[in-house]
Every structure is written in structure tokens, then in C-alpha cells.
Subunit: 449 residues, 2 copies
């Protein structure tokens, strides 16, 4: 059956809004990141909208910000991903549950077991967002004096992935016979002991849990560095990497799919889903005004620290309501400085407005009517900028409800988004195959344990 | 108000039955350890019976048994505790949720965060069973060549406890002001950075989650060794240690409460809850017959390995249906060998029957009618053998339903067990205080975050 290519949609939900001003927006739930009844309503609304997945970022430290910014941040407290997603699995039926977990500060036996358990409890809806945790403060919480170097973290991540997927394959899908009469619970010939001894990890196995419903939970990757893109091409099935505009999206899409093709993978088996903030209005002007108002809720103290950091230059001595001065060459990352300066010029922003934008969210955004937003998404899909998006809501519940009630029907009416879930597992909804067990031939394809 | 001393009751639920034959018992659910809908029914029935807590033991490896026994074991696959308990928290309202977590194979930042998250999601019902994981196979799954020595594990556990409780105290109970107008999310003067640097652990903090509803989740300890008892006296609020009979129970009770008193703790602030298998019948003879039948479902291959191990002597060459031969002195633990030989003599068991008992469960058991079981429990309570029990069900759902429907009403009618939960948190139901924050004076006692 030939069919129009379909958008895949995740919801980026930790924090529930990435926007620093979100908790102050009219109608917002100020403690939404940490309010289970509110999160339950959000995920049920996302499921009503047929979203593919609820996506939890994670941090292993209180975020490193100047205290004047930190005290204004609604992200300082939040649930731990596994406890939250497992609880949310009981109040949903179809939506995927993607948790971030670190290959640098955790053990593969724990990670393999927890994702397997979440996959079983949710009936095949778990996904693992593999991160190496680029945060020096996290190292200090985990018995280290300083952070492990970037490329070494990625080498460990690659081995960690091999161990985790090997542990998931500890039991054949049909290992558990549970023959009450004969008193045989499982067939020991269908149990594999991994015996992994590598450069970073030594893990005997087997895992003490049956093979996950999906075979392996979905593998997600978000890194944009050279090492991150290569890890994604080798392992990921969904990529949540930033792409600030369509050109950048096309380049990222081509790069990762090309890398995958080069090592013999089907490029369709990796879904590229950049993050996108979506602000919906009755008119484009109304949507833009909502965003301006939202940005204005970011306290100057929160924004100026981020702006100074992005510029690598302290502009707090200048008039906040005047234009950005000439910025001398600095040690800040060149691309970040150039991007911020270009943004100020393009939108003619004052220092205050720029600080509020940089201190909240300045990445890819679709701001407009349901029609213009759908136009842009359709363009990305058709021009191979992405396979879909990981949607960020500017404020909740309003922004989330707007997306589900107004944008989703528009996407559906264009035939580029589902009206019903295709299957019961996250893999089935994304159109991805169930991995074979590397140690056993499967006798039945849909795993029943 | 003076009131009859009340029994406290936990349910030991991993495995759902500790008895090796349970999955083959008529009416049993063979995959009950790994069946979320079944576990949901079990915990809801326990809550109907006003149980204090659902208790999850844990293992960080497939249990080390000869393959002939392992393949007959229903405990080989099971959910990971946090994912299961968090999911079960959404289908219950009052029952406590106690998870085992290891101080040897995990990091205090993870443990502190996960229990805090479970405590928030469940509204104050989490408990941490501190274990040091006495299982050489677990070491092999966590980058080690061999197990860390027993007393060193306990020294690390003591430091680990200090770090975890210190991390729980990162925020004052009233730190989160969420002042939308002023744009202040929390008061930075109410955030404490732990900066722990000890012999085993270096953890900066703060924890990235608000202080738990209970202040600290309940602290549980199960070790019976010298080091385990001392750790319990210093830290535990509930002790799940084995006591095979009333005399042993009294000795354990006096020892741990005495150790606690010696370091200035109120002995009432530690609840001693030994494990007890309970088999209910219409008559004592019927209950005994049920147990004999259940034991007969243990395959000889499963039992004989355990029996040989307990005796430190291979009796598999003798007639299984004959009596136990004279056992020469061996290297096996003296107490385990003597206990098994005494059991064979006391109940006049054949080698097969003895193997089936030792290979299933040979600890404290109450086998009788609701009245005789309540008599025994009341005697333990009144004679200071324990503060209650961690109940083990011989088979499910029948054994669990029997306890809730028949034994609980008998205990209630004697005035020694609650008819309604006393509070909404596990601590309130156990009559235990909410710990003060060591870094901040609290301005309000029931924590609202």
C-alpha cells in the first residue's frame, strides 16, 4: 500500500515546558513539572492526540545557574524518569514512554533491567534515550572529581549499548514454558549468559527479567556532536537532535541517514525528530504576541546570565532597553555568539528582549495558526528536513491543548498524521521492526513472554 | 489514650510466594511474579486488609542454583522494584511501598532520588529496605571480579545511609514558594549543598527533587549478622530479620531494641517484623495437609540441592523415601546443619520430604485456623517476640485471600489490628515520626512541597 509519508510526533515533557517563563503564564500550573495529577492529564491529552511518545529528558544534578536565575527556574525539582513513566504507564494505553538514562553515571545491568521492566509493565511502550551526560556538576554527585572527557564518554556509551542490548537478549522469546504438570518453569537451553569483558565494562549476566515485549525498547539518541551523530547512526532508531531551521534540519537528516546507509542500515529505520516549540494563535500576529508576552515573563536576572554566557561577554552594564552593543571577539563558542547576534539584528531586539529569548528558548519554533504550523511541518516532512518533531509546549495546559485540539486535526486532514494508533507498541507505531534476539532464533514474532 | 498494642503487617511480595512449589498449586497464577494485572489485584486485596506495606525483596542477578533447580523456579523473572512499585502506587491509596535497594551496587544520588520520587508520586508511602547484597554473582554483573567483603560492605552502607538522608534534606520543607507575581520559584536560602567527602563516597549534592513527603522514606533493614543488627539499631525504623520461633524472636527483639536504647533511640521507633509463612485451614489438620501438599509440589531436583547445601553433605545417594542417615561433621554452617537435622527428627520426615521443605521454606510458619494463627500472633506481640510480621503467602491468590478474609477479621476482633488506616503516609500508619530536616528548622510539620 502506497501511502503519504507520515509525521512522527514526540512530546518533550521534562521540563513540561522548556520555556523559563512558562510557570508564570496565565492559567499555568506553577508546579506542573512535579505534579502527578497534572502530568496524568497532560499525557492523557497527548494520547488523545495520538502522539507517538512522551519524552523525558533528565539531569543528574541541580542545573548549574547563577542563584539569581536558579531561584526563578521551574525545573529545579522534578520526578525521576522511571518512577514517573512507570506510574504514567498505568493511566495510558498506547503512547510511548521514553526515558533518558546515562551511560556515564549508571550501570548497564540496572539500565537494561529498568527499561525491560518498564517495557513489560507498559505492554511494549518503553524507549531509552541514550545520553552521556555533558554536565560537570553530575560528575561531582557520582564520586568523581571531574567530568570524563567527551570522546571517552562516547566510547563507553558504545560499549554500554552493546552490553544493555546483549542483556535484553538473555532469554529467548519463548524461554518461559511454565509447564505446571512437569514442573518446568523455563527451558534452560533458552537462557544465554553474556560474559561481557570489555574496555570499560565487565558484566556476566544473564539479566533477571524476560526479554522485553519490544525485543529491545526503542533506542533514542540526542547528541549532535561528531561522536554523537556516529553513535546515532550506529545505534539509534529515533534521533532527537537540535536543528534550528529547515536548512540545518536537511543537513542533519542527510548526514545521519547517510552515515546509517554507509554502515548498511536502512535509513528508514532511523526517525529524525528535531525539537520544535509550537505557539498556536487564531492569527499569526496573535501567536507572535503570545510568544512576546511569554518571553516578557522571563525575569531579566534569568536571561542576562544566559545571554552573557552565550556571548562570552558581559553586557549587563549596558541599557537593557537599548540595542546590543558591538561585541568584541571572545572565547565563547563562535557559533553560539554569531547566532545570538544575528537573532538580535533579525528581530531588532533590545538587550532585555534578547536576554529573555536566550534565557528561555531560541531554537526551532513554529509560531502561527494551525494552518501555517501544518504548512511548515509538511514542508519539513516533504523536503526531508525531518521525519517529524519532538514538540515543546510554550505553556501548559493551554499550549498543549491548542496543539492537540487545533494542530493535530489539521495534520490529520492533510493525511500526514495518524487518526488511530497503528499498533500497541512504540515500535509498531513508529513503523520500526522488532529486533531479533542475537543469541536465539525466534519461533514467534510478536513476543509473548 | 491508652490502647492495646497493635500488630504491624507487611506483605513479603517478591517473589509473591517464597515457596518454590507455589506456582504449581491448584488455582495459582504461574507467572504471578511477573504479571502486572495479577499484582494489581494482590495489592488491592492487601489494602482492603489494611496491610501496612507491600514489601519487595530484590536480587541483582539470576539466582545461583544448579540448573536442574533453576529451571523449576518461578522467581527467575520479575519486575524491577521501582518500576513495579511506582505503577502499583497509582492503583492504591494507603498501603506502603517498600523497595529493596543495594548500597553496594548503586549510587546514593540515584537511590535518594528514586525513593524521593516514589514517595512524592505515592503521597508519602515509600520505604527503603537497605541491603548490602550478599551475592557473589551480583558482583560479576557490576564490573567486579569478586564480592566486596561483608564488614566492608556494611561500613560503606553506613556512610551511604548518611549521604542518602543528607540528600533528602537538600531542600527545606517550605523552600518552594512559587511566587508567580515576583517570579521567585524557591528560596535559595532553603537549599543546602551536602558536599560529602567520605571514605567510600564523594557526593556534592544538592538532590534535584523536593524533600520527600515523609521527610525521609521509611528506613527498613533486614540483616541478621552482628554488623546488620548494629546498622539496624542505628538507622532502621522497621526490621525484617528472620526469627524461626518465639524464643529466637524474643532474643532478636531484645537485642535490637537494646542496641537502639544504648545509643539513645526510643525502642518504639523501631518495629521488629520477622517473616512468617501463614497457611490457613478450616481446621489445623486441613491447614497442615495443605502445607504437606504444597511441599509435595517441590520437585526433588529442586529440594535435594538445597538440602545437600544446608547439610554440607551429599545425601542424594540414599533412598529418597527413607530417613535421613547419620550426617558426619562437615564444613557447612553448624547452625544450618543442626537446624535441618532437628527438623527431620521433630517431624519424622523422609529425605524427600526434608528436601522439599528445605528447598521451599523452613522458617517461621503459622499453620492452622484463623483462631490458632491469631493466638500465635497475639502471643508474639504480647511477649515481645515482635511488633508484627512480614507475611509470606504459601500460594496466591488463595493464601492471600484467606489471610485477608479470615485472619485479618480475627485480629481486628481482638483489637490488635487496625480497621482503618490511621493516616495517609506509611510513617503515620506505623506510628513513626516524620524526621526533622538536619539543615533547616521546619515551619510546618506535614510536608507540603
Amino acid at each position: 500500500m502506497s501511502r503519504t509519508k507520515q509525521l512522527k510526533l514526540g512530546a518533550f515533557m521534562r521540563p513540561v515546558s522548556i520555556h523559563t517563563g512558562a510557570w508564570r503564564y496565565p492559567g499555568a500550573i506553577p508546579d506542573a513539572n512535579f505534579n502527578f495529577p497534572a502530568l496524568k492529564k497532560f499525557i492523557q491529552k497527548l494520547e488523545q492526540g495520538k502522539f507517538d511518545a512522551f519524552f523525558m529528558a533528565d539531569h543528574l544534578a541541580v542545573l548549574n545557574m547563577p542563584v539569581n536565575a536558579l531561584k526563578r527556574s521551574h525545573t529545579v525539582t522534578s520526578f525521576e524518569p522511571f518512577t514517573l513513566l512507570s506510574a504514567l504507564s498505568t493511566v495510558t494505553e498506547n503512547i510511548g514512554l521514553v526515558a533518558t538514562a546515562s551511560t556515564t553515571y549508571d550501570a548497564p545491568y540496572h539500565i537494561a533491567r529498568r527499561f525491560a521492566s518498564l517495557d513489560h509493565i507498559s505492554g511494549g511502550r518503553a524507549g531509552w534515550n541514550i545520553v552521556t551526560t555533558a554536565n560537570p556538576d553530575a560528575a561531582l554527585n557520582f564520586n568523581l572529581e571531574e567530568e570524563i572527557e567527551h570522546d571517552e564518554r562516547y566510547r563507553r556509551a558504545r560499549e554500554f549499548y552493546d552490553v544493555v542490548t546483549g542483556l535484553w537478549d538473555s532469554f529467548a522469546d519463548d524461554a518461559f514454558v511454565r509447564d505446571v504438570e512437569a514442573g518446568i518453569y523455563f527451558d534452560p537451553d533458552k537462557l544465554h549468559v553474556l560474559n561481557h569483558k570489555g574496555k570499560y565494562l565487565s558484566v556476566r549476566g544473564p539479566l533477571n527479567i524476560a526479554r522485553p515485549v519490544q525485543g529491545w525498547p526503542l533506542i533514542v539518541q540526542a547528541g549532535a556532536s561528531e561522536a554523537g551523530r556516529q553513535l546515532a547512526a550506529e545505534t539509534a532508531e529515533a534521533v532527537f537532535a537540535p536543528a534550528g531551521n529547515l536548512e540545518a534540519g536537511k543537513a542533519l537528516f542527510a548526514d545521519i541517514k547517510g552515515r546509517a546507509r554507509a554502515i548498511g542500515r536502512d535509513p528508514d529505520s532511523i526517525k529524525i525528530l528535531p525539537g520544535a516549540l509550537v505557539v498556536v494563535g487564531e492569527t499569526v500576529a496573535e501567536a507572535q504576541a503570545k510568544r512576546v508576552y511569554l518571553d516578557s515573563l522571563v525575569h531579566y536576572d534569568s536571561g542576562i546570565a544566559s545571554l552573557n554566557s552565550a556571548l562570552g561577554y558581559d553586557v549587563s552594564g549596558f541599557d537593557p532597553d537599548g540595542p546590543l552593543p558591538e561585541i568584541p571577539p571572545t572565547n565563547a563558542g563562535h557559533s553560539s555568539r554569531e547566532r545570538v547576534i544575528a537573532l538580535a539584528q533579525r528581530e531588532n531586539l533590545t538587550i532585555r528582549q534578547l536576554a529573555q529569548r536566550v534565557g528561555s528558548y531560541s531554537g526551532l519554533a513554529f509560531v502561527g495558526t494551525p494552518q501555517t504550523i501544518a504548512d511548515e511541518m509538511e514542508q519539513w516532512l516533504k523536503e526531508e528536513g525531518s521525519d517529524g518533531f519532538n514538540i515543546m509546549f510554550p505553556y501548559l495546559p493551554e499550549g498543549l491543548n491548542d496543539f492537540v485540539d487545533k494542530v493535530i486535526p489539521e495534520l490529520q486532514s492533510r493525511g500526514i498524521f495518524r487518526t488511530e494508533y497503528e499498533g500497541t507498541t512504540l515500535r509498531e507505531n513508529l513503523g520500526l521492526p522488532r529486533p531479533a534476539n542475537r543469541f536465539f532464533e525466534s519461533e514467534r514474532s510478536p513476543a509473548v513472554i
